[in-house]
């Protein structure tokens, strides 16, 4: 038993339902909808909120399944919010802090690295055209941002590798401002060597992007692979930052720049109480709220190995300097 037939034939009433999964294991992608009630996306990552939602008996038992094109009809019937800002980043550079500060305001919907967005971007691997991907991206964004608590704005923090998808995201959302967050590469690399993100381990992401999965294949070390991907991310950001709509921010400018620069760039006119609410998110480590947030620059610098320092000097430091010079 499932909700697929229900969704395929007459189309379910989707009021109150959100498209939280896109199943790519089937020949035709299936969208799975759950009903989170008034629960906001306030956890550090989209998936964390989803895990909480899926602990609720209702969502364990009742989910609609529909084809992708149901997103299009639902968008026509019930348009949601247009994204007010995209957060791109090179990972380990304060992006979660930025997204959590934005999520501190109840009028904001903040989606942090939502897997369905990545699934839609990757549909090109299964033959989707750019026009189809753009239509699905817009329709998914509309459906996921249906206000359930009077929300007025939508912000999306993307995965680090989505900087390579910026051209299609800009085509889909030409009016949406975006930022790229970066950090001293020695510190990013030191962090990545301890716990690398998916994009920094060869073969973990299902993609045909040469910047993540180089045709040449395996490099000699994990650090070398990570450095090559980070270099590609920084190059892509530099290339796109030459166009309007984007701004780059160094980790060293956080968290202050969220209030002074990022919010205005995202056309957020903050009131005093809103600034207070956003700043209230700062004292805590945003990924592990029981720990106090503090800059770990000194520790990361100490942790960097000789190999990491050499790779940064050879491949990344010059790109970092270019970003800082913008």
């Amino acid at each position: 038993m499932d909700g697929l037939t229900n969704g395929m034939n007459t189309g379910p009433d989707l009021r109150g339902w959100l498209p939280v999964f896109i199943n790519r294991r089937t020949a035709a992608p299936v969208v799975e909808w759950c009903r989170p009630g008034t629960r906001r996306f306030i956890e550090p990552f989209f998936e964390d909120t989803l895990k909480a939602v899926m602990r609720e008996p209702f969502n364990l038992l009742f989910r609609h399944q529909t084809p992708l094109d149901t997103l299009l009809s639902w968008q026509r019937e019930s348009p949601g919010l247009e994204p007010g800002g995209f957060i791109f980043h090179m990972s380990r550079c304060g992006s979660t802090l930025v997204s959590q500060m934005l999520a501190a305001l109840p009028e904001n919907i903040v989606l942090s690295e939502p897997p369905p967005l990545d699934a839609l971007l990757r549909t090109d691997r299964h033959g989707a055209t750019d026009d189809q991907r753009i239509a699905w991206l817009r329709a998914w964004m509309s459906a996921i941002s249906q206000p359930r608590n009077g929300e007025q704005r939508l912000y999306v923090k993307l995965d680090a590798w989505h900087i390579f998808d910026l051209p299609i995201l800009r085509r889909a959302f030409p009016g949406t401002p975006w930022i790229f967050l970066y950090r001293n590469p020695v510190e990013v690399m030191a962090s990545a060597m301890k716990a690398p993100g998916l994009h920094l381990i060869e073969g973990l992401i299902d993609t045909n992007m040469p910047a993540i999965a180089p045709p040449g294949g395996h490099r000699s070390s994990q650090a070398e692979y990570a450095a090559s991907v980070l270099a590609n991310i920084m190059r892509a950001a530099l290339e796109h930052l030459a166009l309007p709509g984007g701004r780059a921010f160094d980790y060293s400018r956080l968290p202050e720049a969220v209030i002074t620069d990022i919010a205005p760039h995202f056309r957020l006119d903050l009131t005093g109480p809103q600034i207070e609410a956003m700043n209230a998110r700062i004292p805590f480590n945003v990924k592990t709220p029981q720990l106090y947030f503090e800059s770990d620059t000194a520790r990361k610098q100490q942790e960097a190995s000789a190999e990491v320092r050499a790779l940064c000097a050879g491949q990344l430091d010059a790109l970092y300097a270019q970003l800082r010079a913008l």
């Binding site: 499932d2 909700g3 379910p12 294991r25 008996p57 364990l60 038992l61 009742f62």
Partner: protein, 74 residues
């Protein structure tokens, strides 16, 4: 990722009833306490002429939990 395919057949009519009825969805959404959810589901089933027993809901929840856990395995 899929909806539970192993829900007990006695529960199936209630499942379809809820998926097609927004008022029932609103009633049951947000009940986080398992026992309270089971009681309310049984009550609503009887009210709508689709009688189910607590054991039906328990079995459905167990099956759904298993399917969810399986879907999370990489």
């Amino acid at each position: 990722m899929s909806t539970p395919h192993t829900i007990e057949s006695g529960f199936e009519r209630f499942h379809q009833l809820v998926l097609g009825n927004t008022a029932l969805q609103e009633d049951l959404t947000g009940i986080t306490d398992r026992e309270a959810f089971i009681s309310r589901a049984v009550e609503l089933g009887h009210q709508h002429g689709v009688p189910i027993q607590p054991a039906d809901v328990v079995a459905a929840l167990q099956a759904a939990r298993g399917a969810w856990m399986d879907s999370q395995m990489v």
